[in-house]
Assembly symmetry: C3
Homo-oligomer: 473 residues x 3
Amino acid sequence: MPTQKLTLHPDRALPVDPEQRRIAREIYAETAALPLISMHGHVDAAVFADNQPFADPAQLLIVPDHYVCRMLYSQGFTPEQLGVPRVDGGATEGDSRTIWRRFASNWKLFRGTPSRYWLEHELVTVFSVEDEPSEETADAIYDQIAGVIASDDFRPQQLLDRFNIELISTTDPAQSDLSQQQKLAEQGLGERVLPTFRPDSVVYLDRDDFDASIATLGEVSGSDVASYQGYLKALRERRRAFVAMGAKATDHGHFTADTTPLPEATAAEIYERRLSGGQLSVDEVNAFAAHMLFQMAAMSCEDGLVMQIHPGVLRDHHSATYRAHGQDKGYDIPVAAEYTRGLRPLLDAFGTDPRFGCIVYTLDEDVYTRELAPMAGVYSSMRVGAPWWFIDSPEGMLRFFESATETAGFYNMSGFVDDTRAYCSIPARHDLYRRISAHYLSRLVGEHRLRQDEAVSVATDLAYHLPKLAFRV
Amino acid sequence: MPTQKLTLHPDRALPVDPEQRRIAREIYAETAALPLISMHGHVDAAVFADNQPFADPAQLLIVPDHYVCRMLYSQGFTPEQLGVPRVDGGATEGDSRTIWRRFASNWKLFRGTPSRYWLEHELVTVFSVEDEPSEETADAIYDQIAGVIASDDFRPQQLLDRFNIELISTTDPAQSDLSQQQKLAEQGLGERVLPTFRPDSVVYLDRDDFDASIATLGEVSGSDVASYQGYLKALRERRRAFVAMGAKATDHGHFTADTTPLPEATAAEIYERRLSGGQLSVDEVNAFAAHMLFQMAAMSCEDGLVMQIHPGVLRDHHSATYRAHGQDKGYDIPVAAEYTRGLRPLLDAFGTDPRFGCIVYTLDEDVYTRELAPMAGVYSSMRVGAPWWFIDSPEGMLRFFESATETAGFYNMSGFVDDTRAYCSIPARHDLYRRISAHYLSRLVGEHRLRQDEAVSVATDLAYHLPKLAFRV
Amino acid sequence: MPTQKLTLHPDRALPVDPEQRRIAREIYAETAALPLISMHGHVDAAVFADNQPFADPAQLLIVPDHYVCRMLYSQGFTPEQLGVPRVDGGATEGDSRTIWRRFASNWKLFRGTPSRYWLEHELVTVFSVEDEPSEETADAIYDQIAGVIASDDFRPQQLLDRFNIELISTTDPAQSDLSQQQKLAEQGLGERVLPTFRPDSVVYLDRDDFDASIATLGEVSGSDVASYQGYLKALRERRRAFVAMGAKATDHGHFTADTTPLPEATAAEIYERRLSGGQLSVDEVNAFAAHMLFQMAAMSCEDGLVMQIHPGVLRDHHSATYRAHGQDKGYDIPVAAEYTRGLRPLLDAFGTDPRFGCIVYTLDEDVYTRELAPMAGVYSSMRVGAPWWFIDSPEGMLRFFESATETAGFYNMSGFVDDTRAYCSIPARHDLYRRISAHYLSRLVGEHRLRQDEAVSVATDLAYHLPKLAFRV
């Protein structure tokens, strides 16, 4: 097979029908150049604060991207063959060019996936690659990317401008001392790169990292976390510190959406039993996590942090990979989700409180019409989040709009969040969302269900204004 | 922004592709003028019987429509601001023009929702409004509607002709004395406005209104409802009275689709314990409701009333709104539904009985292909109901056809039901259904999966003949 | 109504948009003539081995096809009226022409269903029928088909060539003596018609046919199945015998996807209690079935048989039909399925084992994006199976591609399996799949998400190469 050129069609991801495409093009043209609001991200704060050059093409684009690695695992590659570090420090592939070749030779696996879209977009617009990845082109592309990376223009901070990022959030554990944010503030980036408060490791009492996390929380907050009251005080203190560093939101990756509060005495007893080395049942662990979700909402009413809830994932499904390589290695698998009953205590207490805002995400698409849109379409404090993770994709976004809009309306949505740790994919992700929202809206216009001026207004809101409104920026 | 004209495009909700649109237009043209069969409705029987003029635009179109109110709540308006009455008689907004302005100024919230479609249709075709609602146009539109409402041609009975309604059902509690229906019969409308038997408040033993409902049931039926046998006798008597007044169907809004019968002695003991003031567990309450669903099916075999089952809603999700304003205020949220096991006892007993007919609705779209279409596609007594409530919408109806048709076929569907208490929206709802069924069918024709003459036949059946067949009119 | 001609449009099931249709045509043209790989089928091995002529049109196309019969039941026909045999040998309609007329007169019931597509395809391409079935045409069509059936060219073995079937699997109980396969081998068809090992009746300890099945298993395997170890030995022996006869796969129709292994002693105790006539709880029966699914995976690692799992059906929903007519009569209804937790033990143990391969099917479409695609998209041993049974349909297949591709990619799919006992429908089913995959791919191409040469490659893989890869042929 001769080498194929890699090109980006100007109409990619827009509808085929000529009239609908014309409308979609006109809508997209109004949003394409808007600045990026990236208020739910997972790029490490230190990447921005240190502003070091990226290592090499494989370490930038393959090894840390679990979307890419999981597709290669699915065809028999091992984490070791892709250079994914081992917890025990054991040997893995150390030659980045070899890793890159493995990826490039298997380009066809990504057909029909959003990774393909994002990677193409990055390769062409960020790295000026001209050929499709393949066994034959792997080395030349590797060299091309390596050359771009080496440029001083390609440091993380410089990319903020190049990528047209107006605001970006990192995700930081509750016990973070926010020293990276301090450095960023000193470099004048304190209002552009914002922390997000994520307390998962100190509310799930059975996590492997709970003890270390809670100890750090105690130190950093200066509160005695041996007692439940001291623990709550520590969380309040850290939330204040996050707010002071510009945080707008919290982030909660719970297994379920349960938000049932416990009687204070019960919560205190469970917490203190755990801290003093006692045993907890699985039910107690989950009940405490649900209780803390409710407490976090109560604290949000006090300090204004917008609460993000994204439940429904069974983490680390493959034990051997978890033991060898740790978390976030592509083996997190969704489960059926339930929100109507789960969120009821939280919404019953705070759902119409003007001080409170929450954004709820799902990986279970069945709940769009059944649960999330009906709740977001009535409770003033709740928004339905953008399609997330596996469903942050052309078809996933179309289904989201087709399912959620009719009951929630556009104005109870969060607008786009990119939710990625792959920094270079951020522009591609926002671009795809803007194309797909134009795609969906062009159908409403073409079917005379919305005027074109309204569609442009909605597209602009979804891309830019709604994320700011949702995160109260 | 200059005032936008409000116009209805003749091709609205039809597909964009020119060939498919041509086909859809031709199919729609064959159904557009068919009379409306509205066999599942919630307009109050007294509205027809009294035939009084409507109060004002806000009291007609905003305050009682929970679709409209909930969208305004979602953006921070309170029920009080929209004039929704309080249970305690406390103050709410009393100026209808102010309520109307709040609605008109927030017109953009309805973009992409079916409420937008229905309201546009009503404003243009019923009230001859020419401008889009907005802060600027609110007063003029209010006056325009008020003028139309004042006309003697705009009384509820006169609208039956204007709306081309051949048949309409009301929904009436089991304990209704049917005095409104008696009045209607005396006015010659007894065969056009039909009651529907809804026993929810006398089969859920834990409802707030159970005691009052059961007392009335006893009085109206002349049966001693202190005993379970007397209770069954009372229900049979009322069903006979409903049949005598033209009723064709019953309606059951259960929390689950469970239809497991209890041993008669157990059912009697639970019922009589409740009546004598004893305590019941939640499980007992639900088991009794399931038992009664089975009993209702048995009675349907005797008296021919078609049974409508629509489970899966957690009512009154927001306690404070329920306490302040009562039921049906927009805070009813669906939950995951299960029908395969739940309906089994009922279908096992009556599913192939020629005397029995049931129509099953869902708000959980996942069950279309998984449960409802497979059951409706084999049991002769069962039909799958039209998409209901939140999914009575363009996308919801398209998904319904795309999901249910292949397994159930068209001829095991109920055809359209509008399920509304918003009287003026009825023509809009039927029109939208006819457009969307033409939309879906035009794809089958365009893809050579159905001939056009067949599509016209199906569209006519869905709009007119199937509702009559389903309700055994 | 005048008699309608029955014709097959060359573009049927392809998209309406002219540009997309052009692309779809070109893709379809590349796959239309590929040989059929039919590795998951339910045609009886004896049909091939005996190679007898088919009885008559009704006995060939109506009576044994539960898709067709269930649609007729749904409109009030009884199994007896359609000639479906009774378990007690009681009378049913014996006149095949009468059965055929009942079907032909109700042709409109099949509008919009895949049965309509398959039947049209068969009637035109296999039987050269020229008129649409109807009351008027029933007899002439019956005679036409009867004439074709009578031809020596229309024997089952001859149809293998005519239908362009390269490979076909039968489904055979674990206890089969494989005598039919022996006969086929002797006729030179041993590498073209392959058995599939299906042990359901010997792993569900509460099945009506368990005792008979296990007794036969003991005899055929020569192992003492009174003990659990003897039972495992018998299963290993039969698997070896199946492999020797060309089997490539096993097939498991469990109620749930649970694969939790029991401690060996517990499994042995349950099994031996059952064999010695003791009582088991429902939980024990299900736990043992789950345990055996895990054991089957372990054995697949030894002998290389690819494991097919298709859970989630409540069989024989209508008791009276089951008692009168037995299994597989159209009353099997799906239930909600769960795979993430259920498959975890199996995937945790074997999910990255290169010796192991499994294909997982679903009837609950909600799990495509939520569970199956995420798992197939990372575990190297797992593929997501083609849409099955009720969702082996145009819309079902489109939803499958739209939902599963983005996370699983095409190369973690099984490609097409037809899963039918209706032999004459096999070419129609493969043809429809090829059209729908072209339909879906043409959208990706038209939206510039995939190049056309890639789409052709994918379509060819889905139709031909992936089924061979998935079944390790």
